[in-house]
Amino acid sequence: MLYSFEFGDVIEAWPALVSGAANTLWLSAVSVLLGVVVAASGATAKTLGSRAVRFLVDCYIELIRNTPFLVQVFLIFFGLPAIGLKMSPNVAAVTAMVVNFAAYGIEIIRAGIESIPKGQIDAGKALGLGPFKIFRLVVFKPALQAVYPALTSQMILLMLNSSICSAIAATELTAVAGDIQSRTFRSFEVYSVVTAMYFGLSIFFWCVFAAVNSMLFKAGPRGAAR
């Protein structure tokens, strides 16, 4: 039962691990940014769109939320080339993460939109603002603020899920780790270090989210004014 840790190989492969972590970081960051844009557009379409548009958005959400992420990744990377859409592993990974995140993001943002008291919309109408302006100027920001914790949790989940993209050889942290352990057979050491690195990445993301929170939502908790 005695196991002697041997970190020599891991230390030797450190530059590769760091570059894998950096790749994970930027793949996730790009996916989060694009994902939020798609999710916000989807939530807008679901709130203001026609019945047909809302139905299409619903179909998309249900399709994504009820199928495994790995299958979605495979479909994009291996399936789409069949219809002429060929992507590099990293582009396919970002696409899959955006498509996956947006489905959950739409539902989260929609919940925020629904939490806005009707009085706010009445006030917007009484001032003569039209539905699109009310949505943009009155509803959207408080809605985002209301669900910000849920939305950022989903973003962290997206970053962690990026490890699944190692299956299509995207050059992210888990793929690099797999590479190292298959060469050195030091699985325990490699994955312990990688676990710590993912944890560090998560802490970094939380810090960024906290900074964005205090920058965007200066008004503080919105309970005081209905």
Binding site: P117, G119, Q120, D122, A123, K125, A126, L127, G128, L129, G130, K133, L137, V138, K141, P142, Q145, F217, K218, A219, G220, P221, R222, G223, A224, A225, R226
Partner: protein, 261 residues
């Protein structure tokens, strides 16, 4: 005698109709099977101050919310400032530009500063330049006596202050008519006065006002007419003096008796 009185009433009503800035004729509204407004006839002259009172559920709020189409009426006709309220969105927008509204729960936008709350509609609806809109906003914030709060957020203000901001926000659109939907009902007693004072000064300047309120002191002081509603109908329209000292209808008498206790 009664017939003569009726004839005089009709004549007065006809004169009123011709110069009315708000005219409701035969307005009816239902929530499902339940009728909330029944055959409402009301004409409001320019500069007139009207207090609407009545028990809860009598349709007072619904009636004034119909005037800027926050609620849709299903029967009758509503004409505001010469424009008929119907499903034509352009008409609705035109009317909302000219009709300010103050709500029971203030409904300030919590993510915007007081100044931004006041400039939002002038910038986006009246297409004013930001600097001009801010000048107008500061003017009205001074009028409601809280210019020093301009850069705070609504959550940092007391209820009374928030309601005064809400009044300023509505005034920034330079409306011809102001609707008040129980503006003091959600306030602590010591804050009611500051809001009422603002409303009184507005009334003194000749603003056309329609106020749903149970502040009878306010009604006595500024109202030209008091309208008493019950079960979706206008039961009595009277001068404040007559209404408080000598109400015509039993329902009004009962209401006033309960209010005084």
């Amino acid at each position: 005698m009664k017939k003569l009185q009726q004839a005089a009433d009709t004549k007065a009503n006809r004169e009123l109709q011709s110069e009315a800035i708000i005219r409701l004729s035969g307005v009816g509204k239902w929530y499902g099977q339940f009728q909330v407004l029944r055959d409402i006839d009301l004409a409001v002259r320019k500069g007139e101050r009207i207090v609407v009172c009545g028990p809860s559920g009598s349709g007072k709020s619904t009636m004034i919310r119909c005037i800027n189409r926050l609620e849709e009426h299903q029967q009758g006709k509503i004409v505001v400032d010469g424009i008929e309220l119907n499903s034509n969105i352009r008409n609705i927008d035109e009317i909302r530009k000219e009709v300010g509204m103050v709500f029971q729960h203030f409904n300030l936008f919590p993510h915007l500063t007081i100044l931004q709350n006041c400039t939002l509609a002038p910038i986006w609806v009246r297409h004013m330049r930001k600097s001009d809109a801010e000048k107008v906003a500061m003017h009205y914030l001074e009028r409601v006596k809280i210019p020093e709060q301009a850069n705070k957020y609504p959550g940092q203000l007391s209820g009374g202050q928030q309601q005064r901001v809400a009044i300023a926000r509505a005034l920034c659109m330079n409306p011809k008519i102001m609707l008040f939907d129980e503006p003091t009902s959600a306030l602590d007693p010591e804050m009611v006065k500051e809001v009422l004072d603002t409303m009184v000064s507005l009334a003194e300047e000749g603003m056309t006002m329609l106020c749903v309120t149970h502040e009878m002191g306010f009604a006595r002081q500024v109202a030209d007419r008091v309208i008493f509603m019950d079960a979706g109908q206008i039961v009595e329209t009277n001068s404040p003096e007559q209404f408080f000292n000598n109400p015509r209808h039993d329902r009004s008498k009962l209401f006033l008796k309960q209010l005084l206790h």
